[in-house]
Symmetry: none
Subunit: 224 residues, 4 copies
Amino acid sequence: MDRLLQNIKIAINDNIYVKDPESSELGRRIIEYSIVLIDEIGFEAFTFRKLGERIGSNESSIYRYFENKHKLLVYLSSWYWGWLEYQLVFATHGVPEPEEKLSRAIEIISRNKVEDQNFGHINEVLLTRIVINESSKSYLTKEVKQENRDGYFVIYKRMVHRLEEMIRTCNPNYKYTTSLASTIMETSLHQHFLKEHLPSLTNGGEDNATTTFIKEMVFSTIKK
Amino acid sequence: MDRLLQNIKIAINDNIYVKDPESSELGRRIIEYSIVLIDEIGFEAFTFRKLGERIGSNESSIYRYFENKHKLLVYLSSWYWGWLEYQLVFATHGVPEPEEKLSRAIEIISRNKVEDQNFGHINEVLLTRIVINESSKSYLTKEVKQENRDGYFVIYKRMVHRLEEMIRTCNPNYKYTTSLASTIMETSLHQHFLKEHLPSLTNGGEDNATTTFIKEMVFSTIKK
Amino acid sequence: MDRLLQNIKIAINDNIYVKDPESSELGRRIIEYSIVLIDEIGFEAFTFRKLGERIGSNESSIYRYFENKHKLLVYLSSWYWGWLEYQLVFATHGVPEPEEKLSRAIEIISRNKVEDQNFGHINEVLLTRIVINESSKSYLTKEVKQENRDGYFVIYKRMVHRLEEMIRTCNPNYKYTTSLASTIMETSLHQHFLKEHLPSLTNGGEDNATTTFIKEMVFSTIKK
Amino acid sequence: MDRLLQNIKIAINDNIYVKDPESSELGRRIIEYSIVLIDEIGFEAFTFRKLGERIGSNESSIYRYFENKHKLLVYLSSWYWGWLEYQLVFATHGVPEPEEKLSRAIEIISRNKVEDQNFGHINEVLLTRIVINESSKSYLTKEVKQENRDGYFVIYKRMVHRLEEMIRTCNPNYKYTTSLASTIMETSLHQHFLKEHLPSLTNGGEDNATTTFIKEMVFSTIKK
DNA sequence: GATGAATGAGCGTTCATTCAT
DNA sequence: AATGAATGAACGCTCATTCAT
């Protein structure tokens, strides 16, 4: 992305963190290296102690920012979806044609991600990999319902509802707009996962194959 | 299901377990109560110690059957898919019409599950809930690739390939058969998850809505 | 008590604190809310962090006043005994009859306490409960001897010696004046503790039963 | 004590421990060295980790026997009271004269303790010191009431009730039997504490002074 | 003088696992 | 084959305290 947006900051629900990691140097290091480390060793093996070692800081300092590693993952996921949402709004703003709008939205969500210079301390490529591999763990817990009530997933849900709205504009008579919207989101992640880890379960090998697959599926489904 | 099948046994790849849990009373208790306990407290909080307490046996005995709790989850998932595969084969066998065949397959995979009297020690309703809530944790690990090589996911993959084959029979020209097949599998689980935990992200509220949604999507996608 | 004494201040040995908590608003808030909080959660669970949160101040500020929570407890105990001593002196001053004097002293020490309007920021009822439940922890430590040398318990000891003196005046031949005096002090606390927590170990249920019990015991013991 | 009683075992309420420490060598070492270590460094500084180091065993093994250090202290206190109770029963059994009986009981409770050869792994002298210095911490907690309900203090309470019964036999008209009984128990400990740490608050310096003091006090109090 | 941020150390606990029976 | 006991290692977290402002 261009650098016009240098001052923007992805806004995250403030009861996900204890202290805003964007508010200090240490906070930003926590974000930067948690992404690197989770990608390296997986979320299961990731601990605040190891992160502390990596950033040359005591784990107790990290507790000033996040109550536990689970909330840190929720934060990273939220940031990811906030970042995608930003791109989606930017790319679809002012596009009059509903099909074109939805097409661009699917593209943003399902394409291969590249680094974004606007957020120096965040490696979006690694983060995307984390979201693909681990983010379901942020909601597949016994506490989903409470966390949902606490607004942990607002950005994700807003994304789904934006898609839903676009689908409805394309075809007001289509019955399963919400399910289709959430399927777009989930399929985007899942197909990328398979491509990486279980390639025999996908045709997504070539560039943009996933995007094309989803677009075809969505548009034939909602065609009047 | 009827009870004609009383003697059948779902065959599970034998390097998932150390000792076949179907081969002893203790083994069957391990399976029975691991399902109950994981459903109760979640896979994260589930430990062999707690399972041992529940079945009145020492945790070390459980190690005779499974190397660790992760493999036990792989076993349960495999069993689930094996069970579904059985139903799928049974329901589609001898159906000449390709569309009808695929339609029945989707139905088997995505419908709400009920208890199956053929497997007394397994509560299929709870198991389905576990697969919906937790099974992604069985492959979302750093070790997927190795485990795939070890054949942990053969049944799942065979299911995908069966679907793929049916899709191809319906329309030999459709390009993304594998992706569509894996999307059917994943969407079936995901929509049920949303229905349960984040209902605002699905239209799947009514009976069979998920099945209808998927069928519509699939058939419009592959329509010649 | 009447309000004639508005300007009095209980004098506490100044090496118990770093900075006199009576010398500032923050100091008084520390005293006020430490009493409330210790009563609420117990001394064990009480920390400067929690106290800081309660008074809307950083824990590091509290360290300006007290080196650690143990010294704060010593301070509170000392304040309690200083407060009791004041009442004792006030109530026995000018009483010529030795038995009457001792009787009034025992009364002061063992009666149920009520709030004293002279010290607005201190809730004497809660403080009494703390002294009953927790104050032994202020001297039951490996450091008693050193702390005694440092004068941490002067007020308490002065109280014992005042009682001792009164006992001796009643009966100059009684041999165990000091032990009896310290037993009066300890029994007053202990019986109140039992009344509250293990009532089957006391007859102290009715009003003033503890006072009557102690008086009877003391006077029969020292009777010539 | 003589060695006639070699086979006796002090019976402790079995929900104080997870596994009976008398049932294994490791368990007995835990008891033996916890007494030594608590006496050495104080209960506050005592941790299972340090105990583990001392007995050359991992702290996790200790958790097999006691849930936490607080319960271990409850166990030690209970053992102490059980041991005293045994002596008390033994010393008063068959004594017809009520005053003599009570006198012997007070003696048992308040005298200086010496090692008892019947319990090889327990150093009764150190244990007595622990009970004097630390045991109040076993009941001065926010959880007393619940723990009382759970029977943690049964032996202590039985001791009080035995004393109470003896007092009543001496003088059926005395009103405060329970309070006097609990005062005997408490004063015995407290005077020994003072003798050791704050000797200016006691006359208990000479041998048996505490015993004599208490006996005089009790008998003059209940004298008809 | 009061505060906010950061830290090191250690606690209590649990887990997965092994060993001996 | 199944069990019970024991262990090492690590986790999550909190505490008391210090430093810089």
